[in-house]
């Protein structure tokens, strides 16, 4: 499964990566391993990055903003055509789930390393995807939409079952949301919800869904070849989130029994199979404390956290994407997919956890990535580079693999400790505090874990000894201070603060 395939018969010899940062580097690594030509497009803001240095060819693209240039499909396709790229890998984000781009790529006679436009379209629409999955017989969270039939809304809501969550249809930001644990109170809560919705949003219509207490986010990696072959590559647990973004992902999930694992993974594979899925994809579930799980959405692209899956299965997911795009069949069965050990990914963000995870910027004056057995560093930044506010603040991913979860946590702590990045504040210290938390160590986390434990993000009080050491290091590195000290003649320095 991880053997290097013969690419001589492939319809493309060059792959253009329509992305930047660590994922561009990640894709280029496999592209170049296969002996294919790796091409990247880049905005001027990314000129000095690793992806641009690594690529066999780099083509500058422009746009009103750096991000806009990576969203400019026409320009990217033109670059692909000009450079002779036979395939485009979209990475994640940007154009990776853009049906129009996918179509335009294929219309230009270039392979899109991803699913079909139809699959993007279906899974890109949350409501359609949910309905499709529900109809196909897979579990989705019970819900009721008032709009569907206002007359029966209360009845339908009752069927959703307790606890349930009532939200204003027009709402957002948690305003007007009500949790109902006792169905006898349902009607009066709906009345209140309507009036609140009307007051806040000028619209009293409601939506209700099963409320999952302290849910986990568990997702399953799937691979399909578009020829009807679909396998799952086990699950990933991504419950630790801040501001609705994952920051630590691991596999296997500490929440799953072998039976539940089999069930959730087969469910995911079944969903993918039901649409004849092509490409690597991820089926995301919301997972309740009773072991119940519901389809959330499917991401029809390579996932940020794909490396943890690669680490424990030995499967190069990018390589599989390329094979499928080249028209090959998977060539292996579900039973061939085996996992060993435990892997955790830490997203290294340029951000200040103590200040609401606000992004930070600055020069990368020193970068010493962690090293050692079981340590993988996926990053697009280089020493001498700069972290700007032009892009997402994720600057690297640290993936550690151990023989079990405790070993992986220990390796993670050591690797985070060894990660030296100076010039721009990152979240490494925060991540160390996070994985040292007893609940994390016990695997007992949920998507609201960090909100419930704000002390993890808070800057801890500096130990007196640490403060001394920092001041010493800083004083000894500051010329005006060192110069004054050095100017003192030897004898007087040796006498110190003598007074007669």
């Amino acid at each position: 499964m991880s053997a290097v395939p013969d690419t001589s018969q492939w319809p493309f010899k060059a792959v253009l990566v329509a992305n930047r940062g660590e994922i561009a580097v990640r894709v280029l690594r496999t592209v170049q391993k296969l002996g294919l030509k790796g091409i990247v497009v880049y905005h001027a803001a990314d000129r000095g990055t690793l992806a641009v240095k690594m690529a066999d060819q780099a083509i500058e693209i422009t746009g009103p903003t750096p991000v806009a240039s990576y969203l400019d499909g026409a320009q990217i396709i033109a670059a692909a055509l000009a450079s002779g790229a036979g395939a485009i890998h979209p990475g994640y984000g940007f154009l990776s789930e853009n049906k129009g781009f996918c179509q335009a790529v294929e219309a230009a006679g270039i392979r899109f390393i991803g699913p079909t436009p139809e699959q993007i379209d279906l899974m890109g629409d949350k409501v359609r995807a949910r309905n499709f999955v529900e109809k196909a017989g897979f579990p989705v969270a019970p819900s009721a939409i008032e709009d569907d039939d206002p007359a029966t809304f209360v009845e339908r809501s009752r069927k959703v079952g307790a606890p349930l969550l009532i939200k204003p249809s027009a709402g957002g930001g948690g305003k007007g949301m009500r949790i109902v644990r006792d169905l006898s109170l349902l009607e009066q809560e709906i009345v209140r919800g309507r009036s609140e919705g009307a007051r806040y949003f000028g619209d009293g219509r409601l939506y209700c869904e099963r409320y999952i207490e302290n849910p986990r986010h568990i997702e399953v990696q799937v691979l399909g070849d578009g020829h009807g072959n679909v396998v799952h590559v086990f699950e990933r647990e991504c419950s630790v989130q801040r501001r609705f973004q994952k920051i630590v992902e691991e596999t296997p999930s500490p929440a799953l029994t072998p039976e539940l694992r089999e069930k959730i993974c087969e469910t995911a594979a079944g969903i993918a199979r039901s649409i004849g899925y092509r490409n690597a994809g991820t089926v995301e579930f919301i997972f309740g404390q009773q072991g119940e799980f519901y389809f959330l959405e499917m991401n029809t692209r390579l996932q940020v956290e794909h490396p943890v899956t690669e680490q424990i299965t030995g499967i190069d997911l990018v390589l599989q994407q390329l094979r499928v795009a080249a028209g090959e069949q998977l060539g292996f069965e579900q039973t061939d997919v085996k996992a060993q050990g435990h892997a955790i990914e830490f997203r290294i963000y340029a951000e200040d956890a103590a200040r609401g995870y606000t992004p930070t910027t600055g020069p990368v004056l020193v970068l010493h990535p962690p090293q050692g057995e079981g340590v993988r560093w996926d990053s697009g930044i280089l020493q001498g580079g700069e972290v700007t506010s032009a892009f997402d603040p994720m600057i690297a991913k640290l993936i550690v693999t151990g023989h079990d979860r405790a070993d992986a946590i220990a390796k993670g702590d050591a690797a985070l400790r060894d990660t030296v990045l100076l010039g721009c504040k990152t979240n490494t210290a925060f991540l160390r505090r996070l994985i040292a938390h007893p609940a994390f160590v016990a695997g007992d986390v949920h998507t609201g874990f960090l909100d419930a434990n704000p002390q993890i993000a808070a800057e801890p009080e500096l130990a007196a000894e640490t403060l001394q050491a920092l001041l010493a290091a800083a004083a000894l590195s500051t010329r005006p201070m060192r110069d004054v000290a050095d100017a003192v003649p030897d004898m007087h320095a040796a006498m110190g603060g003598w007074r007669n």
Partner: protein, 165 residues
């Protein structure tokens, strides 16, 4: 203890001196033997009292970045002259006088206005050159002597700030 580093919100006064073999950090009432030996790759050995730590240090302007005990910290150096001038609040001139004879092109403030350091107070013209007069410190405008188009002599008081406190 005239030197200072800002670490987070806190400012720490300290000083450095040289000892017979290395250095001493003066911090509050404490005097601690310290030393720093830097290797080729930017890694360094920091000695603090009896303890040794491997650290990585980078500087940029007045910022000192230190990777210590598995964490990165940022300290900002404040030179005593900057710090004390700011603390005194008025080392910069409170009375802004004309550096040369000229006339007023425009006045941007009036008495009672709160101004921040560097803010344009007025523009004067002299010897066919326009000069912008900016606030030497944060403060409140006390007096504006001239109006637009009026002329003045060298050393004429153009504007003054309310004294601090």
């Amino acid at each position: 203890m005239q030197h200072a580093f800002k670490l987070g919100e806190a400012e720490h006064n300290n000083a450095l001196s040289r000892s017979a073999n290395a250095y001493r950090l003066h911090f509050g009432e404490q005097v601690i033997d310290v030393d720093l030996k830097t290797g080729a790759d930017g890694r360094a050995w920091l000695t603090v009292g009896e303890r040794h730590h491997e650290v990585v240090i980078a500087t940029r302007g007045d910022d000192v970045f230190v990777h210590f005990d598995g964490e990165a910290y940022q300290l900002r150096y404040r030179h005593p002259l900057d710090r004390l001038a700011a603390a005194a609040g008025g080392s910069a001139e409170d009375h802004i006088r004309a550096p040369m004879p000229g006339s007023i092109v425009s006045v941007s403030v009036k008495p009672g206005d709160a101004v921040t350091k560097g803010q344009t107070l007025l523009v004067m013209e002299s010897m066919k050159m326009e000069t912008t007069i900016t606030a030497p410190r944060d403060g409140v405008v006390a007096v504006v002597t001239y109006e637009k188009a009026q002329t003045f002599d060298r050393d004429a008081l153009l504007l003054s700030l309310e004294p601090n406190q």
